[in-house]
Symmetry: C2
Subunit: 145 residues, 2 copies
Amino acid sequence: MPGYSHILLAVDFSASAEAVAGKALQLSQAFAAKLSLIHVVEFVPVDLSNELVLPQAPEMDQELLQLAEQRLKELATRLGIKECPCTVVQGNTRREILRVAEENGVDLIVLGSHGRQGIQLLLGSTANAVLHGAPCDVLAVRVKD
Amino acid sequence: MPGYSHILLAVDFSASAEAVAGKALQLSQAFAAKLSLIHVVEFVPVDLSNELVLPQAPEMDQELLQLAEQRLKELATRLGIKECPCTVVQGNTRREILRVAEENGVDLIVLGSHGRQGIQLLLGSTANAVLHGAPCDVLAVRVKD
């Protein structure tokens, strides 16, 4: 019976990112699976017809991506993950996680799940969104807010 | 770093129940964790003021529960799980899974996730419902419909 061969850890840089990463690492070790990290820098939709909203400078986008890449590598180092493929992409979090998972033959996505209550429950979470339409298994690691 | 010590497998007796159970078994072996099985027989709400709807006979409820218990034990045997605690309860699926998980110190719930599309996506799934308010990690195993 096959276990997991390629685990994709979605990192959100919240206070619990390290705990979630720890779980992904344990699973990758238990199944001798490849572990990849992804962080998605969300687009902020800008209405260019609205003069009150300043579109973000392109160089700021680039800086955000570079900063995220650096933080992702630092996280991997802290966890003792060597030669771990780190992907930083810009776009819609759910869509990018699913795209990267599909393109790389990922069989398990690991991400943090925040305990939403009340109105937040209606707004949904990333874990929830990823669950819909995921091409593979999804492990939602419960984290404390 | 702690792994998992008690895994709760939610069984729905769909065509893919065995594949989902296989994943839960693998995880329990990888982490030397206790494995428990649960199946929830959903209540069908009956409007007693509506003369067109016949309330279900109590003995039928009992038969359903016994049948589910038997099927759950058969599944455990087929998977080679010995002395596996099997719980069959009647009620709301999400609520009962979360209650049993909480009461038994479960740290991982494993259940099947059907690839819902279109209108079904709006209606949500059990995996989705369980994710909300789960006291622990949730592994949604992707199954083909």
